[in-house]
């Protein structure tokens, strides 16, 4: 059972943005979802765990290892798919994966070939292994990205916003792949898409303004809001008034008219009680923080 423990991680950028604000969290094997709006500090956290960035303070421990002081050893257990995964021009998928496999320490040429072939099959790119990756579509590139992250039996897999720009079919195939990875591995999936987390993750955290505002399972989150979320369709010009009087956690348009979700006791009969979704949990946690 793998375990990643972050303690009091903080990072402030030179422009005074507090990207990480005393983050403490424990993650164990399985899929871990990290939700947060854009600019919440998710990527900073991912990069920090991936030893690509130094925190100003705090510590990390992974299976008894300190990645900050011994990054080399830690990197042997790491698979990382960054938010923006680019590729070299004029180089084929096979060559790219082979190169990265060498860097990850797969030193036997034969084993490397088998592994790369296996991964290419697995991500369904074997037929295109000799094509330049540069010409691949976003989904294909992302699959190359996951293939490289899986090289060398990682114990910790970090995937940062992997489905941005993918169509629904590509997205599903991508998640199929991720979820098929062994249960012994910690997978940290950073995303701002609530459904992704709901569908895949056993554990999750919500992050905003550099802080963890929620940490638990999706189910617990939903359960904590049970019976406390109500919905009402209102007129557009009433929106401000409702915001002032109720704790509106979200609003969206349905048929051109705003539908608001309110958290708390049922205000009046014009509101309809609903089953809370993970999205409500997400908005609720963000609201409560600010």
């Amino acid at each position: 059972m793998g375990k990643l423990k972050l303690t009091n991680l903080s990072k402030t950028y030179t422009n005074n943005v507090k990207a990480l604000d005393s983050i403490s969290i424990e993650i164990s094997s399985g899929m871990f979802g990290l939700l947060g709006p854009n600019g919440a500090g998710k990527s900073t956290l991912m990069r920090t765990i991936a030893t690509l960035q130094q925190p100003d303070s705090g510590s990390i421990e992974f299976n008894g290892l300190d990645p900050l002081s011994n990054p080399k050893e830690f990197r042997k257990s790491l698979g990382y798919l960054p938010q923006e995964f680019g590729v070299y021009p004029r180089i084929s998928a096979q060559q790219l994966l082979d190169h990265l496999a060498v860097l990850k320490g797969v030193s036997s040429k034969k084993e490397r070939k088998e592994l790369v072939d296996y991964l290419l099959h697995k991500v369904n790119l074997y037929d295109k292994r000799n094509k330049s990756v540069k010409g691949f579509s976003g989904g294909m590139k992302q699959r190359v990205g996951i293939a490289q992250a899986l090289i060398g039996n990682p114990k910790l897999l970090i995937v940062d916003e992997p489905t941005a720009g993918l169509d629904p079919g590509e997205r599903n195939r991508f998640y199929d792949l991720i979820s098929s990875i062994g249960e012994e591995v910690i997978v940290i999936l950073s995303t701002h898409i609530v459904d992704d987390v709901r569908e895949l993750c056993t554990d999750m955290a919500i992050m905003n303004h550099g802080k963890i505002v929620y940490n638990g399972t999706p189910q617990e989150g939903i359960a904590s809001l049970k019976g406390r979320v109500f919905e009402k369709q209102i007129n557009r010009n009433e929106l401000e008034e409702y915001h002032a009087n109720f704790q509106v956690i979200s609003n969206r348009l349905i048929g051109g008219k705003p539908v608001i979700h309110v958290e708390g006791e049922k205000p009046d009969s014009s509101f309809k009680a609903i089953e809370p979704s993970l999205e409500d949990v997400f908005f609720s946690k963000l609201q409560n923080q600010s």
């Binding site: 991936a50 030893t51 130094q54 002081s69 070299y88 021009p89 990265l100 036997s108 074997y126």
Partner: protein, 1172 residues
């Protein structure tokens, strides 16, 4: 950006205007610093820099809307294509022309401020010339920006790529340098002028014969070659722009993706078991290799790399195809010539290295794969070294490719003496260290500065900028110039030469320094997302391993040790002076010792030399037993002796005591006690040793070397008296330091008396003397000294030779030693000997013939040859000249021995040089001019004339000589254009080579054509008979007194016009019309325009009364080889119509068809004949 460019241009031009240390397009010289000529040179040269502005602005104009992804918004607005396209285009022309206006600002402000602050004398500036600014703006700035801009705009528009458009700018520069190759031969001059993209060389061809006066006044005009060049290139620009316009479209072309996602991709759902990876371990070697290969591929597949590589090949090929020319002849493709050509492509390799150092370091980040790569468990130093090595390997492969090209070229030309060793060692000494050091240093710069473009800027500053900065700061140590080292020149005779040791040490110095910096830069490697220098250092320092630390320390210590050795050798053991220091030294010397100028001194009347040369030790020991006389009317008591650093002399004269020594200026004062009485003689011994220790900053002396030692008696003998040669000679520098103007030569005097007791060769320190030499060298070499070989023996494993001069001669000798082959031929009891290197046997027969031909002509026309031998002795190509000493002529291996003469039937420049040097055996060694104006006419002009006459003696077509004369005409006319002080008439020539070689030979040749060969030769013969081996020495006036009686009255004006004044002809043929006559013949009507002008010393011309005999003639062929008929006619007015009857219809007609008169524009003397 405009302001920044403007400021840079302004600074450069301002500096060039107000300081002698900075020059643009050559030294300013004698003309005003703000003259139209200087402004035009500055402007046209600066437009090369303008290319950079053009590239920036035009690229921006073409691509900015796309770059900022604004095009979709902009192109949907209702703007019309024409307005958009040309609006951008002309705005870019205007913008890029602005920084070049700084040339005008720089010149104006420079000429205003410099005289006030006192940097430059006010009289170095002329009147402000607004017209030349305007002319330059429309002749150079606007056209050049439009031409370069249209090419760049076109490329940017077509390829939508910034890099391709910058490569386009580079392409223009290459085209410019290729067109420059045409100028190496007079025949291709017009072609070179027309193909020059910038018009720079066009202007220099146009202004080639400008006199200083014309340079100060003539504003470049919209005419002639210049306007043609501009029209041609503007035409090209217009076509490109029209094509770009037609191809331009607002709608985006679809960029096709070559891989389309196939629909059935997910069908293949084979299930695999994950293969077992048995061991995960970071294998440094594997990682290194993988990094290396992937980076190596990325460079050679890169478009920019391919373009640059292609251009370097084109550059090399154009160098090869134009061949190794020398006055219209080709040199054999010797391996060292080819390595020189390969060396010429270095600049491209450096550009490749600069560009790809940034590209490689930024590649991962540019393609956003850095986070993946960085998070893998490899050691940071691995990619650093792998990337450096991949860059370096490419340079090695390119070099290898060039070598293969070079060898193929040799083979194609049927030249089979391919020296693989020379290719190899050239690579090891010149290419390998440069590329290794450059790769390491440039990569390190990119790593440390962690900003691609700042890295590029720093790289360019280190490679180019430091040169300029150090020039201004007067720093010359090669330890500071990027990959600085002494110049290494390969010679067939002497291999890489004496500077090799120094080059080796400088090479290891630079390699160790750059590796040290590269290793150190590992501390700054940016892994993950860190940016500031301190952050990187802080983070990386935590991870420093012991072995890395040891590596840094080790490389640092190695570098330091080498640096200490280089420093010791180049600064302490062999110190050198910077320009400022040596100027100061010269100034101090002159101020301190000028009072000793003209001090009485003794004369040498006999010398016996004992010389031991130790080639492998690069050492020579000389002992000179001299017999001295006091030729003055008063006793001699003080003696001033100059010593040099390399020759450590010791003068031993009875009664002579050293009283004072100035070690700084290397001056010794000795006193005679008792004094040296008038008419007395003294025996003196002078011992001198040549020795070199270690190595020096700028390379070693080439006098005593492994094979091909060559030095003359001036290097060996004591240098007595105040030495005018040590003074500052530049006219402007002297003015700046407040020194009085210096006469180049004493003035010509009619009754010169005592002034004629010294000649310009030995300056009064000796006359015609007897010389004996015992010279020894190593047992594999032959040593040569002047005179007949009396005795030859071996002693202690060394070769000894005793030589004795057969006839007392000028004390002007050379001593040589090398492993020679000897070819001999007997000519009427004179032994003709050629000493040559075994590799250079191909032209020896021809050289023997040339010597024989000279001996024939000269003994018949001038008088007997006075020596028993006549030697041509080869010396290494450290210098390219031939020189005449009594009975012997050292001749550089760089020409003569290596020129391909197989297709040269008769006359060629190699024979001409031999004939010239042979003529010196009469003109310089039997008779030499007094040390005053006109002296060199009697040796150099006479020898050059004699040489022309030997060629004429075997020429069977009178037109052949025109080819040879053309070089002399050109030498004179372009020489006078570059005169730094003043032009003088021939009889007062002050050792000005363009006058005594160029003009002197043309005039004497023309004279023999006008009054007859026999008459000119007779005058020379009588003159020689009267003065040979006699003092006082004759002057040019003495010669004219022999010549004048030989000239018929009708041609008497020629003496004044040609010898005593500066006369130029401006003849042209307006028209030549042929009318058929009834008898089947033709009458040719010449419409002639003729002017004769006299010029003053600065080139101001006045028209003179015309009363001239000039040839007119007709050619039967297009090539002007067959002169059908010619006639000398008298021209008395500017316009003349002349009729001539000829048997058949000629093709061309000409005034002065054989080109014997000095005419600045000869091409208008010839016209096609029109049939009426």
């Amino acid at each position: 950006m405009v302001y920044l460019f403007f400021f840079i241009v302004f600074l450069i031009v301002f500096a060039a205007t107000s300081s002698d240390n900075v020059s643009i397009g050559g030294a300013v010289g004698n003309v005003n610093r703000n003259s139209p000529h200087v402004i035009t040179t500055f402007t046209s040269v600066m437009t090369i820099f303008g290319l950079l502005f053009a590239a920036a602005f035009f690229n921006n104009a073409a691509l900015r809307d796309r770059k900022y992804e604004f095009q979709e918004i902009l192109f949907t607005t209702p703007i019309d294509k024409f307005g958009y396209f040309f609006g951008r285009f002309f705005a870019a022309i205007f913008l890029s022309s602005i920084p070049l206006l700084a040339v005008f600002a720089g010149v104006s402000l420079g000429s205003f401020i410099a005289p006030i602050v006192g940097w430059v004398e006010p009289d170095r500036f002329g009147a402000f010339s607004m017209q030349s600014f305007i002319a330059n703006y429309f002749l150079f700035i606007i056209p050049n920006m439009a031409i370069a801009g249209s090419i760049i705009f076109f490329l940017a528009q077509q390829f939508r790529s910034t890099i391709v458009s910058f490569v386009g700018a580079l392409l223009i520069i290459v085209a410019y340098s290729v067109s420059g190759q045409f100028l190496s031969d007079l025949d291709n001059e017009t072609l070179g002028a027309l193909t020059d993209t910038f018009g720079i060389r066009t202007y220099s061809v146009v202004s080639k014969y400008y006199t200083p006066l014309e340079k100060n006044t003539l504003i470049p005009s919209f005419s002639g070659l210049l306007i043609w060049n501009r029209l041609i290139w503007l035409g090209v620009a217009t076509i490109l722009t029209i094509v770009a316009y037609l191809n331009f479209s607002f709608s985006d072309k679809k960029i096709t993706r070559f891989t389309k996602e196939s629909a059935n991709e997910s069908s293949d759902k084979k299930s695999f078991n994950r293969p077992e990876v048995t061991h995960i371990q970071d294998s440094t070697i594997n990682q290194f290799r993988s990094f290396f290969l992937i980076n190596f591929k990325s460079i050679y597949k890169h478009v920019t790399f391919r373009i640059l590589f292609l251009f370097s090949i084109i550059l090399l090929l154009s160098d090869l195809i134009s061949g190794y020319e020398y006055f219209g002849l080709q040199s054999y493709p010797l391996t060292y010539k080819l390595t020189d050509s390969i060396q010429g492509t270095t600049i491209f390799l450096i550009i490749i290295l600069v560009f790809f150092s940034g590209e490689l370091i930024w590649r991962d980040r540019d393609f956003r794969i850095n986070e993946v790569v960085d998070s893998t468990p490899h050691s940071t130093l691995i990619p650093l070294f792998a990337k450096t090595l991949s860059l370096f390997s490419l340079t090695v492969l390119i070099h290898l490719f060039f070598v293969v090209l070079a060898i193929s070229y040799q083979l194609i030309n049927g030249f089979y003496q391919i020296e693989l060793g020379t290719y190899f060692w050239h690579f090891i000494y010149n290419a390998f260290p440069l590329y290794l050091a450059a790769c390491s240093l440039l990569v390190a710069i990119q790593v440390i500065f962690n900003h691609k473009y700042i890295g590029y800027l720093i790289s360019v500053i280190i490679i180019l900028g430091l040169d300029i900065i150090f020039l201004i700061m007067d720093i010359q140590s090669n330890m500071l110039f990027f990959t600085g080292k002494p110049f290494l020149l390969y010679s067939d005779m002497n291999g890489f030469g004496p500077s090799l040791t120094g080059v080796f040490w400088f090479n290891v110095y630079w390699i160790s320094l750059s590796l040290f910096v590269l290793i150190l830069s590992g501390l700054f490697w940016a892994r993950g997302s860190v940016s500031s220098l301190i952050d990187r250092l802080r983070i990386n320092r935590q991870k420093v391993t012991k072995s890395y630390f040891a590596l840094v320390l080790l490389s640092g210590v190695i570098w330091f040790g080498i640096a200490a050795n280089v420093y010791y050798n180049t600064q302490i053991l062999n110190p050198y002076m910077s320009v400022d220091e040596s100027e100061q030294m010269a100034l101090d010397y002159e101020k301190t010792y000028v009072s000793y100028k003209g001090m009485n001194h003794f004369k040498l009347i006999k010398a016996d030399y004992g010389i031991d040369i130790f080639p492998s030790d690069k050492r020579a020991e000389v002992r000179a037993d001299m017999l001295l006389i006091n030729p003055n009317d008063e006793p001699l008591d003080t003696l001033l002796l100059n010593v040099t650093r390399e020759w450590k002399g010791e003068l031993n004269i009875p009664n002579l005591k050293l009283v004072k020594e100035d070690t700084k200026h290397r001056v010794q004062f000795h006193v005679f006690d008792p004094p040296f009485m008038p008419g007395d003689t003294l025996k003196a011994v002078f011992k001198n040793t040549f020795e070199s220790n270690g190595f020096s900053n700028n390379g070693e002396s080439t006098s005593i070397i492994d094979n091909g030692s060559f030095f003359n008696n001036f290097a060996v003998l004591p240098d007595i008296g105040y030495s005018e040669g040590k003074e500052i000679s530049s006219k402007n520098k002297r003015k700046k330091f407040g020194l009085p103007p210096k006469d180049r030569m004493p003035e010509l005097k009619e009754d010169c008396g005592d002034d004629c007791l010294s000649n310009y060769l030995t300056q009064g320190y000796s006359d015609y003397i007897d010389v004996e030499t015992v010279i020894s060298t190593s047992n594999d070499q032959i040593a040569i000294a002047p005179g007949s070989l009396i005795e030859e023996w071996t002693e202690d494993g060394r070769n000894y030779y005793k030589y004795k001069v057969d006839y007392p001669s000028q004390n002007f000798y050379s001593f040589m030693s090398a492993d020679y082959q000897v070819a001999t031929r007997d000519w009427n009891g004179v032994s003709i000997e050629i000493y040559y290197d075994e590799k250079h046997s191909v032209n020896i027969e021809r050289m023997l013939n040339a010597v024989e031909r000279s001996l024939d002509y000269y003994t018949k026309n001038f008088g007997p040859y006075t020596h028993k031998q006549c030697r041509i002795i080869e010396f290494p190509r450290f210098s390219t000249f031939a020189q005449a000493f009594p009975g012997s002529m050292p001749y550089s291996e760089a020409f003569g021995f290596v020129i391909n003469l197989e297709d040269e039937e008769k006359n060629n420049v190699i024979d001409a040089v031999i004939a010239h040097e042979m003529a010196h055996q009469w003109w310089a060694h039997q008779l030499v001019g007094a040390n005053m104006q006109g002296g060199t006419m009697l040796s150099e002009s006479f020898s050059e004339y004699s040489s022309l006459m030997t060629m004429k003696s075997i020429a069977d077509n009178p037109m052949d000589m025109r080819e040879f004369l053309r070089y002399d005409h050109d030498r004179y006319l372009s020489g006078r254009s570059g005169e730094l002080e003043k032009e003088l008439p021939l009889y007062k020539v002050e050792n000005q080579s363009y006058i005594h070689y160029g003009k002197g030979s043309v005039i004497l040749y023309a004279l023999q054509d006008y009054i007859g060969e026999d008459k000119v030769n007779l005058a020379m013969r009588e003159f020689l008979e009267e003065h040979k081996y006699k003092t006082p020495y004759p002057t040019s006036l003495d010669f004219l007194s022999y010549l004048e009686p030989k000239v018929p009255d009708s041609l008497n004006y020629l003496i004044d016009d040609w010898f005593k004044e500066i006369t130029l002809y401006d003849n042209r043929l307006i028209e030549a019309i042929a009318s058929p006559l009834e008898n089947g013949k033709y009458e040719i009507t010449f419409e002639i325009e003729a002017r004769k002008v006299k010029a003053d010393s600065l080139g101001a011309e006045t028209v003179a009364q015309l009363n001239e005999w000039v040839d007119v003639g007709v050619f039967a062929d297009e090539d002007e080889k067959i002169l059908m008929h010619q006639k000398r006619i008298l021209l008395t007015s500017e316009k003349t119509t002349y009729r001539m009857e000829v048997d058949s219809l000629p093709v061309k007609a000409a005034i002065d068809p054989r080109h014997i008169l000095i005419d600045r524009i000869y091409s208008d003397n010839i016209r096609k004949v029109k049939l009426k």
